[in-house]
Point group: C2
Chain length 198, copies 2
Amino acid sequence: MPKVVDHDRRRVELVEATWRIIARHGIEGATMRDIAAEAGFANGALKPYFPTKDDLLAFAFSHVFSQTSRRMTEATVDRSGLGALRAYCLEILPLDDIRISEARIVIPFWQKALTDAAKAELHASAMLQWRNTICDHLQEARAAGELRTPLPDEDLAGLLMNLVLGAQITAVLSPVENSPDRLVAQLDACLRLITEGR
Amino acid sequence: MPKVVDHDRRRVELVEATWRIIARHGIEGATMRDIAAEAGFANGALKPYFPTKDDLLAFAFSHVFSQTSRRMTEATVDRSGLGALRAYCLEILPLDDIRISEARIVIPFWQKALTDAAKAELHASAMLQWRNTICDHLQEARAAGELRTPLPDEDLAGLLMNLVLGAQITAVLSPVENSPDRLVAQLDACLRLITEGR
DNA sequence: TTCTTTTTTCTATAGTTGTAGAACCATAGG
DNA sequence: CCTATGGTTCTACAACTATAGAAAAAAGAA
């Protein structure tokens, strides 16, 4: 029996190399050759793990969502209501280098999803999950009396979703007006308005 | 003297063909050949008007912003304060087919701007202009007593900007939860919260 | 008609990309 | 030490792209 590698682990390594390339040179610079080189391999070494480039990209994108989702559930595990809501949204906002890189990966993903049904489906399901969690926390907040606005939770959730998704764009393309502290200020402004409303 | 064409007009025609292609098949399907065919020409006919593909795309993208900006100033010409603010934002929200197409063009543009300094600059200046106009309307609203929240205008403007930019994404990729009336409801919820806050 | 100038088409080219697959390598068991 | 087998490299190829530029076409002026 010769050298044997953990295929799942290798797949993750390759995906991380893909992320680095996309974050650094954009999706157009993410050729199979460059990704392989970034991971320390030659061109054809990716094929056993990802038969086609689309397989690699699809896995890379879905891995971003699982990573973000995992962070979000960790951040809210010992909270509820408004506190959970804030922690949840903070975990999506591009406040540090890692999450700014994620934004640089998600934007090309949106562009791909525009003409790729499978990626659109992946996006839809991830967004639905986030949205439902936000709604849950809003209801907790209402139950705890933290929230008295008559505006429906669905609209508030949509508002927050659009806010954090818009932040992915502005944090990367207008970093001066949307520095981390500004983004947090915007989120807190939004949450304060929601709790004040009656 | 032979047939002579209006170069500026032709450039706009070509840009509109480009938009149609991008909206229909995505930016990856927008090859010079396909764009030329969509405009009713053969491959090389574009060169006199746009020497390179990047020239064409840059002009196409900047044209989207001027079109949107023109619509926005038209919609606010006889309003001020909160009314102007609402009309202004409504003009960005992807509420009809035209503006949904614009969203399908802007998303690839963001992706290009990630690795193209000229396009990033174009985006930054357009966003700064929108942002300043929103701030102006917020100040008008304050002066008219429509607004009493102590939250700074900059944060409110950033909030609204992120909201409408996020709507570009969700309207296209999660149309069910972000149908036109839902988006308007979200905007109105946000505006109502802003005016209620104190 | 014929000429002149603008516009358009068409063909060619150089470069890049994803993918395939043969050749090569490395390693653990006998 | 040998060998079977999973892993890796390398070369090749076919498709596609943007771009260049020569050739053709069109259309008003003389």
